[in-house]
């Protein structure tokens, strides 16, 4: 093997005799049912540098972690490798475990032998076992060359930017301000409240949405710690947790003129909300017939229709019957529905529409008893506390239900002329799939939620979106309000469809995370940033040409042996550790800490090493 190339391998990072502890997790059978963990442990003892090699049923459990701690002390380990599940689940757990034993957490390496081994090679136990050994061998190579790293500590600006002045944004702002944290609340429209203004009566309390909006608004307005910027947009954002530089553009301030202000915040909360789905022209006759409305339109109709009467009235005509069609723009089926302008099909459930429809249907029946209501659904999803009551009450109030299949949606046509009643044809699965025909005066389309507008922030901060186009949290259970960019949090419907209560709960959860970030004076960051080996740097400046992040990398003049020389220098707060600079350095003077090229080389060596001599 050609690893003697002096250009490639520097032994500087290699401790004289590393003592690596290897721990293999059975994961209660998840791993050991396929991978022969005992055999792996035995073989791994043969890998150079490995001092201890053990198996445990649950490495992540307390006794599992205790084993590592005990060994670090008793066996004088200086490196630890755990072969278990994906590092996304437990890297932090085990880092914590080694820290408790006074070991540097970055001298720990995790090997994924579950998601990428035992689960992916279920029918090849021999192959999976051999692969586990090679992967551990690679990790031992990497960890042997690992150097102790420390978290980067940066000043923390005790100020939060909340983007969006809807219920989620107002809730986060109010929560944080109540805990003494100053908040900049940016809202692009001219008033706070967001979508609350388009809602009527909220379920399950029946409270008026505008009342809630007013209550929350007055709370936010009264708090001197909250700076509210209406008619404004975030146009520029850069920086990092604790130190985000934000440019806000808008016509606020005394002059009323369009101005731009800059501020520094420690945390950004995305409360950017959702957009209701807008049906295409002609979708269920929308925009082709005057009485085909969406639930959003219908909400304002209900809100403005002050008179109680026998029937509902709309644009001068009496509406004798209404059909609500569920899942418009939600639960779309490939090949049945037409993708939107962005080529996207909304295959997800928008969660709130079922109860919204029933809430509206019930209001119609209660306020306009002679207006008949029909409900065309796929499934009635009144899942929440107090929601099923809407379904029951709507039934009791005489709403008639029809059930269609997603791949056979109902059709809406004009019965006669352009302003005639509407004709709905539905294959009704409550009637054994029979084709039924209804004539109605109005059709209300229960439009779903689509991802809200937040392009600037998404583009500039590179925020990930999910398959559904909503902002993607790191993990729905482990880190539900955090996103892959440190210091950016998700609140409410920017993340997924939610009703108002859920939105407020999610906002509370985001606020609590934000507040926790401000409990320390400084922000702590992972140390995975570029690092320059000044001995090797010849000051070519090639690296600089590759860096996309303003201020992350610079050439500075320093004195060396009495001469002034140019050397590259990294700003760890701005460097994202992408490594674009690394690949071009002719002297290999620059590397990303924790992910150095020589470590990768050592991994490749480990991968091709014949660890298992007796087997071959």
């Amino acid at each position: 093997m050609d690893n003697k190339d002096e250009n490639v391998v520097r032994d500087a990072a290699m401790p004289t005799t590393p003592r690596v502890g290897v721990y293999i997790c059975r994961c209660g059978g998840n791993i050991s049912d396929v991978v022969d963990t005992e055999h792996v442990a035995e073989i791994c003892r043969l890998i150079p540098g490995v001092a201890v090699s053990k198996v445990h049923t649950f490495m992540c459990s307390d006794p599992g972690q205790q084993t590592i701690s005990d060994d670090i002390k008793q066996e004088k380990l200086d490196r630890v490798v755990v072969a278990s599940c994906s590092p996304f689940l437990h890297e932090l757990t085990f880092r914590g475990a080694v820290v408790r034993s006074k070991m540097n957490p970055y001298l720990y390496e995790q090997v994924n032998i579950r998601e990428q081994c035992s689960w992916a090679h279920k029918h090849d136990p021999r192959g999976a076992t051999a692969k586990a050994i090679q992967l551990i061998s690679a990790a031992v190579g990497k960890v042997s060359r690992a150097t102790p790293l420390a978290k980067i500590r940066l000043p923390n600006h005790r100020r939060a930017l909340v983007v969006g002045g809807g219920p989620a944004g107002m809730k986060v702002a109010a929560d944080l301000a109540a805990c003494g944290i100053s908040v900049v609340l940016v809202e692009q429209s001219d008033r706070l409240g967001g979508k609350l203004h388009t809602l009527n009566r909220l379920f399950p309390t029946g409270q008026a949405a505008i009342q809630l909006a007013a209550k929350m608004e007055s709370q936010v307005l009264a708090d001197p710690k909250i700076e509210i910027l209406l008619n404004s947009k975030v146009t520029k954002v850069s920086g990092f947790i604790g130190n985000f530089e934000v440019g806000i553009h808008g016509n606020f301030g005394p002059s009323g003129k369009t101005t731009e202000i800059h501020t520094t915040v420690g945390v950004i909360v995305m409360a950017t909300g959702f957009k209701p789905y807008v049906p295409r022209e002609g979708e269920f006759n929308y925009k082709k017939h005057p009485t085909v409305l969406t639930t959003v339109d219908f909400n304002s109709l209900l809100a403005t229709q002050n008179t109680e009467g026998r029937t509902l009235h709309y644009e001068g005509r009496s509406i004798g019957s209404i059909a609500f069609i569920h899942c418009v723009g939600s639960r779309q089926v490939d090949g049945v529905h037409t993708p939107g302008p962005d080529g996207r099909l909304n295959t997800y459930c928008s969660r709130v529409c079922c109860t919204t429809v029933l809430n509206q249907a019930l209001q119609v029946r209660q306020r306009f008893p002679e207006t008949r209501v029909y409900d065309l659904h796929q499934d009635i999803r009144t899942y929440g506390r107090g929601h099923e009551e809407y379904y029951t009450d709507a039934s009791r109030a005489g709403v008639v239900f029809f059930r269609y299949h997603g791949d056979e949606p109902p059709t809406v046509t004009n019965a006669n002329g352009p302003t005639s009643p509407l004709r709905i044809n539905v294959k009704d699965y409550l009637s054994w799939g029979e084709e039924l025909e209804l004539e109605v005066d109005m059709v209300v389309l229960a439009v779903g939620m689509t991802a809200g507008p937040c392009e600037t922030l998404v583009d500039q901060l590179k925020l990930p979106r999910g398959e559904d186009d909503f902002l993607q949290e790191i993990h729905p259970k482990l880190r539900p309000v955090e996103i892959s960019v440190n210091g950016v949090l998700l609140a409410g419907t920017s993340q997924a469809p939610m009703n108002i209560q859920e939105t407020l709960a999610a906002a509370g959860a985001a606020a609590v995370k934000a507040r926790a970030m401000f409990t320390t004076e400084e922000v702590e960051l992972n140390p995975y940033v570029a690092q320059v080996d000044t001995h090797l740097c010849e000051g070519s400046g090639v690296c600089l040409t590759q860096c996309e992040y303003d201020g992350a990398l610079a050439m500075v003049e320093t004195q060396e042996n009495g001469h002034s020389v140019r050397k590259a220098q990294v700003n760890p707060g701005l460097c994202v550790g992408c490594g674009a600079c690394v690949a071009v350095c002719p002297t290999q003077a620059i590397n990303v800490s924790g992910w150095r090229i020589d470590q990768y080389d050592a991994m490749v060596d480990g991968l091709v090493r014949d660890v298992e001599p007796a087997m071959v």
Binding site: R372, A397, F402, S431, E437
Partner: protein, 385 residues
């Protein structure tokens, strides 16, 4: 096939006593808990509820389902939405009775207790009037009922009434047959099938044996009581319609003579179940008696009074009280006649015809389907070959 929606149908059925039809969410619990539904081609009672919910009036009129239900109430007890399927079936039977009746009287009587009572009173007064005008001499030293009300005259009245009532009832039966066999489609069914199935009608007319399959143990008891009642009024029908000359005599036969024994049996068979049903309805003991419409009460009360006055005629006659006998006889007929006139073709009693007829028609349909399938099979085999 596109069905049109009549949104008022469920209101109509509610008018006939339908309860909570809107509450049904079509989960299918009632259908599978029902011991009869599988025998009846499935989907029962939900099919009826759904037809009502979706306003498919003509399909509702075409279905036999309501007549195949005997109201054990299991569906109502088990319904997760308390939608009361059993009562909906009951109401559908009333609705269908009204629809089969071309005169519109049935609908009037079902929907308005006042109208029904008024009709009964009118007919009763008419009967009383007849007696007042045309009764024979009243022999007061001994009971001579046949002098007061000559048996041949009463018999003639019986026959006229029977003919008129049969006409209305048969007209209803004809409409039921026409609709449920698919109107013109019924001509495609071989007449042989109609003939073959005739025994079914009579077996069910006399035994109601289908009921035994219905529901839990109390259905069995209810069937027995009902059977008793049926035997009671079939006995009475026979006695007054065919054997009146033998039954209504002035000679007092010894106790063990058949006309007396049969009469007593019929009286008990009428009195015991009606009293029992009235108590049950009053106390709401069984699911079937949870909800009582005026028509249910009127029917039971009239039946009870008819039987009661009937036996009182006998008591007074045997007791040798001429005046009381004549009086109670007039009262008896003034109750019995309107009851029959109103109840038999236009109200609850019509089910004595519709129930066995529905089973007969169901049998015809099944046999026709079997015959069609048998006829189709060779053809499809040919295609396959």
């Amino acid at each position: 096939m596109a069905g049109k929606f009549n949104p008022d149908l469920h209101l109509d059925i509610t008018g006939f006593g339908g309860k909570d039809i809107d509450m049904c969410m079509n989960c299918g619990t009632c259908t599978t808990i029902c011991p009869m539904s599988e025998d009846s081609g499935g989907g029962f009672p939900r099919r009826v509820i759904r037809l009502i919910q979706t306003g498919q009036q003509s399909k509702l009129e075409e279905t036999l389902d309501p007549w195949l239900c005997y109201y054990c109430g299991d569906c109502t007890t088990n319904c997760p939405r308390q939608a009361n399927p059993a009562e909906t079936m009951m109401a559908s039977r009333r609705y269908l009775t009204a629809r089969y009746d071309f005169t519109g009287l049935a609908k009037l009587f079902y929907k308005s207790a006042v109208a029904e009572i008024l009709a009964i009173i009118l007919v009763g007064l008419f009967v009383t009037g007849l007696f007042v005008a045309f009764h024979g001499p009243m022999v007061l030293n001994k009971v001579e009922l046949n002098t007061f009300a000559p048996v041949h005259a009463v018999e003639l009245g019986d026959w006229i009434m029977a003919a008129v009532l049969s006409f209305f009832l048969l007209a209803g039966a004809a409409r039921m047959t026409w609709w449920t066999l698919g109107r013109k489609k019924m001509f495609r069914i071989s007449p042989l099938i109609f003939i073959q199935q005739i025994p079914v009608f009579f077996v069910h007319l006399f035994t109601q044996k289908r009921w035994k399959k219905c529901g839990s143990h109390h259905s069995g008891i209810r069937w027995m009581k009902h059977l008793l009642l049926v035997s009671g009024y079939l006995s009475m029908l026979t006695l007054v319609l065919i054997l009146l000359r033998w039954f209504q005599t002035d000679k007092i036969y010894p106790f063990y003579y058949p006309q007396r024994l049969w009469g007593y049996y019929a009286t008990i068979a009428l009195l015991y179940p009606t009293v029992d049903f009235m108590i049950s309805r009053w106390r709401r003991k069984e699911p079937i008696h949870l909800f009582s419409e005026a028509s249910d009460w009127i029917f039971l009360v009239m039946l009870f009074l008819t039987a009661l006055t009937g036996i009182m005629v006998n008591i007074f006659r045997v007791g040798g009280l001429p005046m009381a006998t004549y009086l109670i006889y007039v009262i008896h007929l003034s109750i019995a006649v309107p009851m029959l006139v109103v109840e038999v073709p236009f109200s609850k009693w019509s089910h004595i015809m519709y129930r066995p007829l529905s089973i007969y028609l169901y049998g015809v349909k099944q046999a026709a389907t079997r015959a069609n399938r048998a006829a189709d099979e060779p053809a499809s085999e040919k295609v396959a070959a």
